[in-house]
């Protein structure tokens, strides 16, 4: 059964955030917090000799960018409880120091699944990230589950 909501909200932009330039230190600290050992993310000099000619951020670095509004003002509600169901992340080009990133957020999809414990509603929020050259950097789909 399709959940009952106003489908015109799908694809509407609910947030646009511009971030300050990414620093070398932002990347190094993030990599360290994950315990990364890959020199492309952790070692400025070794990364300079690598395929990108310099330091790049680990793929999940973009998940640390916090938009001004994490969720839309009129977030649809289908249940009392909400939890983080998962993420899908697509990386097109790596983030580098000096990048000026922009994030545009939309409600991408809403669907229902019926399991053993009844109906669950999935709200998929999409963050599209571009850089100062207008290149597509990454897309994050965030699945919020309500029941």
């Amino acid at each position: 059964m399709a959940p009952d909501f106003d489908r015109s909200i799908l694809g509407q932009i609910f947030d646009e955030t511009d971030f300050p330039p990414i620093t070398k230190n932002d990347i190094l600290k993030f990599a360290e917090a994950l315990g990364e050992t890959n020199p492309l993310y952790t070692d400025v000099e070794a990364a300079a000799q690598g395929p990108y000619g310099g330091l790049i951020a680990p793929p999940t670095f973009v998940t640390r960018l916090r938009p001004q509004k994490m969720t839309p003002e009129h977030m649809p509600r289908f249940g009392k409880m909400g939890f983080d169901g998962g993420r899908d992340l697509e990386n097109f080009i790596p983030v580098r120091p000096g990048d000026v990133l922009k994030m545009v957020s939309t409600i991408h999809d809403i669907y229902e699944k019926t399991g053993r414990s009844g109906s669950m509603y999935f709200i998929v929020l999409r963050n599209e990230i571009t850089n100062q050259n207008g290149e597509k950097v990454a897309v994050i789909d965030h699945r919020i589950v309500q029941r």
Binding site: E32, E36, P51, G86, D88
Partner: protein, 140 residues
Amino acid sequence: MRTIYFEDVEEGDELPPIDMLLTKDFVRRYARTAGMDFPRFTDDEGARKEGLPGMIAPGVLSMGLLARLISEWNPAAQITRIGTTFRSPVLPDCNIHLLGFVTQKDDEQHTAECDIWMENDDGERWVIGTAAVALPTKAA
């Protein structure tokens, strides 16, 4: 830098597992670094007030650790897609095991698909996912 080429990867290859004690300090430090300095990720009392059994690890931390599993296997692999499902809350301090294997190779694109997951000591899979990686090739 250690490099595994597309030609040397076989379907079924296991990624070298990462076994670690996920401590509260590790989770707190990640939460602070990632701008997720919320009680549910930093302190047991605060998390209980939100109805949780204690502080939990952010889902994106689990995702980041699974990306690290791939990056430690092959630092030259470029992760183009990673998808994770958070099946169960991850409560530190606990042992976690990050595991995965190559499920498919694409000879045209020089890419590989991997199944990846995080499990506890009892083999319960708390986080499951898949990733696509682009691999360097000897022919290039």
